[in-house]
């Protein structure tokens, strides 16, 4: 599939390698840490410490405390968002330094900010500022009403739609893969649908501990404020195409990016379709840039002939012929 047969020319033995496409993907906060992320990254570069120092300066992050937390149980949701963004950007830097940029990039939920930093639409500091502004806007709206989020495993999107049965007070905010999706809305409605899903044969239904109904129309007010803030920023055209999780369009201009930043707050996303767009475009290697391996696990229920690598096996990828990188020369 990837490597061709060795072939002779007059002077040398040439091994041809068919170049497939690579995508760089970014997880959201809430992903499960494996505990060795800091050590792995520090073994590859000094990026994590440097980014932590910049985050301390930009948003007042307690860098040492955040980096010391190996299990991902941070003090609050905002610190959790900063941490995953920092780790994601550090892995992105390692990739770029080894010559691996990716043909596409995409960010899962709030992983969008790291994806945009990777695509050089925004600076690292702008990403931190966007995270802070979005978080506060969403929190302000969500704090006033009893919202909730639930996850359903074992039912398809169509089966979940049938359960919701036209109730406009609840939305499927994200389809992770063919067996797993998130719903959001008022707490009582979410709990009701979770209960019905269980009766219908869902393998697992869980009411999540964070209550802000991200990616739903309940966040319209937060999105409007966020739009105003985005209007004050300088956003650059992406260096690498970014796939929108909202409508799966390939974003190549700053206008696309600015729109997607706002849409990501109050419109439903679909990770299954986002991955499928990249797989259909010829991607056979995904690199998950961030702590843990949540996107790799999600991808087990997404159809296609591809592999997902992450920080745990990044060295293996960079020294293999799956991607064209300068990693071997850099001794990674």
């Amino acid at each position: 599939m990837r490597t061709g047969s060795p072939s002779w020319n007059k002077h040398t033995l040439v091994t041809t390698v068919e170049r497939k496409k690579t995508a760089v993907i970014f997880p959201a906060f809430g992903c499960k840490y494996l505990g060795n992320e800091r050590g792995l990254l520090e073994g590859m570069s000094g990026d994590l410490s440097e980014l932590a120092a910049r985050a301390a300066s930009a948003v007042g992050l307690n860098a040492e405390r955040t980096l010391s937390c190996r299990d991902g149980n941070f003090e609050d949701e905002l610190e959790s968002q900063y941490a995953v963004y920092m780790y994601s950007c550090a892995v992105s830097n390692v990739l770029k330094r080894s010559g691996l940029h990716g043909d596409f990039t995409a960010g899962y939920s709030m992983g969008l900010y790291a994806a945009l930093c990777h695509a050089e639409c925004i600076t690292f500091e702008q990403g931190l500022s966007l995270i802070t502004t979005a978080y506060r806007g969403i929190r302000d709206v969500a704090a006033s009403l009893p919202f909730g989020i639930g996850v359903i495993s074992g039912l398809t999107r169509e089966e979940a739609i049938a359960l919701i049965d036209g109730n406009s007070e609840i939305e499927i905010i994200n389809v992770n893969n063919r067996h797993n999706l998130h719903i959001a809305g008022y707490e009582k409605n979410v709990k009701h649908v979770l209960s019905r899903a269980k009766e219908q044969g869902a393998i697992n239904c869980k009411y999540l501990t964070f209550h802000s109904p991200y990616h739903s129309r309940f966040m319209d007010g937060a999105a409007e404020k966020f739009r105003e803030y985005c209007g004050t920023l300088t956003i650059y055209d992406p260096v690498y195409p970014v796939i929108s999780t909202v409508d799966r369009r390939i974003m190549t201009s700053w206008r696309d990016v600015a729109r997607d930043l706002v849409d990501n707050i109050n419109r439903n996303i679909n990770w299954l379709e986002t991955m499928s767009v990249m797989i259909d475009a010829g991607v056979d290697v995904f690199v998950e840039c961030g702590p843990g391996r949540s996107l790799q696990r999600m991808a087990k229920f997404i159809d296609g002939d591809f592999d997902v690598y992450n920080l745990q096996n990044l060295r293996l990828l960079l020294s293999s012929d799956r991607v064209c990188s300068s990693a071997r020369a850099m001794n990674y």
Partner: protein
């Protein structure tokens, strides 16, 4: 209804143990039948779904996810031993597992 052959139980047991050892990054020697997948291994439902797909493919099972889900509601399987037991029932009864009490 699939026929349980000699060695099927041992094969299922080996696959389940190897699966959780690899997924949860725990030595296989540390796993026991009474190991709780959720509490002890921090496992989740996606692992169960993945395991189910492995067995569906391996044994060519005709079983719907929703049928298994309804059975799980009545008969939760949280330990490795319980998951092995339920897998054997799924292999034996396929979609008719819903009719079991």
């Amino acid at each position: 209804m699939a026929k349980i052959e000699n060695g099927t139980v041992e094969e299922v047991r080996r696959i389940v143990y190897e699966f959780f050892s690899e997924e949860c990054e725990v030595s296989i020697d540390e796993l026991k039948d009474d190991t709780n997948v959720i509490k002890d291994l921090e496992g989740d439902s996606l692992m169960f779904l993945e395991l189910l797909e492995i067995f569906k493919k391996k044994y060519g099972l005709n079983v719907e996810l929703k049928t298994v889900g309804k059975y799980v509601v009545k008969h939760p399987a949280e330990t490795i031993g319980a998951i092995i037991g339920m897998t054997m029932l799924i292999i034996e009864h396929e979609n008719r597992i819903a009719e079991l009490e």
